[in-house]
């Protein structure tokens, strides 16, 4: 079962693309821990400092647009990001994040209702986001059950279990 997610927010704007999440020159790095060192380097030089005590990214529309590089969600996950919340995601990034087990939740209006540094609790199964700082609740866009299962286990585990069941 997925742990509930609790942490402080790092906030970004619209259209954060995969080229800035992990610039191309780092794609030759195969070890996820090496990728993690360069996460968000293209947009935020201070990210590696911020992520030490803030584990939830909140962004605007079209987060993860651009290339299909799975290195983008991988770099965020290994940098310690627990969850990405955005108004909307680019579709390949959405699939990739779920497949590697990085919780990712779409929520209309989130970028207006949450500010940098605030503390959130996210419960993907219930589609619920609690803003602990402002003491408000937000409803996430629903995620189908099989996707929640993949998000909790990662696609690799999911596939293994499915093959065994067959």
């Amino acid at each position: 079962m997925m742990m509930d997610i609790k942490g402080k927010v790092i906030k970004y704007g619209d259209s954060v693309n995969t080229d800035v999440i992990i610039p191309s020159k780092f794609l030759v790095l195969i070890d996820p821990k090496d990728l993690a060192k360069h996460a968000m380097e293209g947009i935020d030089p201070d990210f590696s400092e911020k992520v030490k005590d803030r584990k939830i990214i909140v962004a605007g529309r079209n987060f993860g647009s651009g290339s299909s590089r799975e290195q983008a969600p991988v770099s965020l996950k290994y940098a310690g990001v627990q969850c990405v919340l955005a108004e909307s995601f680019a579709r390949i990034f959405y699939r990739n994040a779920i497949n590697i087990g990085l919780p990712i939740v779409e929520c209309d209006g989130i970028s207006k209702k949450v500010d940098d540094g605030e503390e959130l609790e996210v419960i993907p199964r219930e589609g619920l986001i609690k803003n602990l700082t402002k003491e408000t609740k937000l409803k996430a866009n629903p995620i189908p059950d099989f996707l929640l299962e993949i998000m909790e286990k990662g696609l690799v585990e999911y596939m293994k279990e499915r093959k065994v069941k067959k």
């Binding site: 259209s15 693309n17 080229d19 800035v20 610039p23 191309s24 020159k25 794609l27 030759v28 790095l29 195969i30 293209g42 947009i43 529309r61 079209n62 647009s65 651009g66 290339s67 299909s68 590089r69 799975e70 290195q71 991988v74 909307s88 680019a90 579709r91 390949i92 699939r95 990739n96 497949n99 590697i100 189908p144 099989f146 990662g154 696609l155 690799v156 596939m159 293994k160 093959k163």
Partner: protein, 421 residues
């Protein structure tokens, strides 16, 4: 039964259903799956972690080396080796090694994609193959690993936007200008999760090369796939590439679309996508004086014979301006060879262009022609994000092959209709 559009028809077929509706989740059988040297090594790791032993079909699992070709470092050589070893181990029929292939999407279009097929690729511009009436879309490394194991993948049936283009594209106004215009209208997330169908007289009169340019760039407005209904032009192309046998899948005449928009191409002028985003599109008459340091012709968007012919036609007997480096990168060995035979490469070389071997080149910032801080490039490629082609302080303007060639001569972004001398 309700009528279905071409995307729904293909997805229904692939999932063994009579009827599908937007929003339905299906599991589809995949006809062909492709990975490249950037997405492949991670995918193979995931394939092994999934306890994958054999790929589901060794004739349909395709690997192309193109992003860092030939290897520019020991690290990329290692990535190539991982894929080469895998191809040998799995006895893959199609492994495109250095010097025997080109850009992955060009390989898929030259040798594999057929109408009505479900094709996935671990690269975002996999949407290109809608040019022959296939459903094709980009996925990531773990997804492609799952496809290599099972030959299947889940999809949500997308809503489809129908773009009808009337009138006539007046050369040198090109398919690239049409798709840049479209992205400027829809913006970077205007078609997120959706399919995009292109129709109308301009599309009917357009070559498959041109249709590839359109379908290639739909991902820049967030779309899942781009598609053109197959017709005589498609049949001619497939015959020429010996892509037989095939079967056309078409949408029903009364099929529904999420929305239909109409453009009249007759009054279009050349378009330019200005930094720092692909949707920052302006007619060329509105961009003012932009000096350039580099002009780049190539990529899966515009590195085909048709593109090279147009550029060579403009460059013939002229010289690239001294302040500009010009690069031409044919999209495949076949394009390279055809351009060689037609004398296009000679024209380029005589003009002072560096002709590179087929690969992705600097398109995504890997190697071969990156930019320094403060430099500007006009490029026939598909992305101009910050840092995409080298320094985050460099600027990339996207334009058609004709605009790139005209700009190489004058040293600033130039309307190919108004090139002096």
């Amino acid at each position: 039964m309700t009528e279905m559009n071409i995307v729904e028809k293909i997805m229904a077929r692939a999932s063994g259903k009579k009827q599908v509706h937007p929003g339905d989740i299906i599991e589809a059988k995949i006809d062909k799956a492709m990975m490249n040297d950037i997405t492949g090594p991670l995918a193979i790791e995931a394939f092994r972690e999934m306890d994958g032993k054999k790929v589901w079909d060794k004739d349909r699992a395709i690997i192309v080396l193109d992003h860092l070709v030939p290897a520019d470092s020991a690290q990329s050589a290692n990535m190539h080796k991982i894929l080469r070893d895998f191809a040998v181990e799995q006895d893959l029929k199609y492994f495109y090694d250095v010097g025997r292939g080109g850009v992955c999407h060009q390989m898929m279009m030259e040798n594999h994609a057929k109408p009505g097929e479900m094709i996935v690729g671990a690269d975002s511009h996999t949407c290109t193959y809608g040019a022959v009436g296939a459903f094709s879309t980009g996925i990531g490394s773990t997804d492609i690993a799952a496809v290599f194991v099972t030959g299947k993948l889940w999809f949500k049936i997308p809503k489809v936007i129908n773009i009808v283009v009337k009138g006539k594209l007046n050369p040198p106004v090109a398919p690239k200008d049409l798709i840049l215009y479209t992205i400027g209208q829809f913006k970077a997330d205007g078609a997120t999760y959706m399919g995009v169908r292109f129709a109308g007289e301009v599309i009917q009169n357009m070559s498959v090369d041109g249709r590839m340019t359109l379908c290639n760039m739909v991902v820049e407005m967030g779309a899942k796939n781009g598609i053109v209904e197959p017709d005589d032009k498609t049949a001619e192309y497939l015959k020429g590439r010996k892509l037989v046998p095939y079967e056309f899948v078409k949408g029903d005449a009364d099929a529904e679309y999420d929305k239909t928009v109409e453009y009249n191409a007759s009054k279009f002028e050349p378009m330019v996508a200005c930094p720092p985003s692909v949707d920052n599109v302006k007619p060329i008459s509105e961009i003012g004086k932009v000096e350039i340091n580099q002009a780049l012709l190539g990529s899966c968007t515009n590195g085909r014979l048709e593109d090279l012919r147009i550029a060579a036609g403009i460059l013939k007997g002229k010289k690239v301006k001294k302040s500009v480096r010009a690069l031409v990168i044919p999209a495949s060995q076949d394009v390279y060879q055809a351009a060689l035979r037609e004398g296009l490469l000679e024209t380029f070389v005589e003009s002072g262009v560096l002709v590179c071997g087929p690969n992705c080149g600097p398109c995504y910032g890997g190697h071969l022609g990156l930019l320094a801080a403060g430099e500007t490039c006009v490029s026939s490629t598909n992305r101009n994000f910050v840092g995409r082609m080298g320094s985050p302080k460099a600027m990339v303007y996207l334009a058609s092959p004709a605009t790139v060639a005209a700009s190489a001569i004058s040293g600033r972004i130039t309307d190919p209709r108004h090139l002096e001398g």
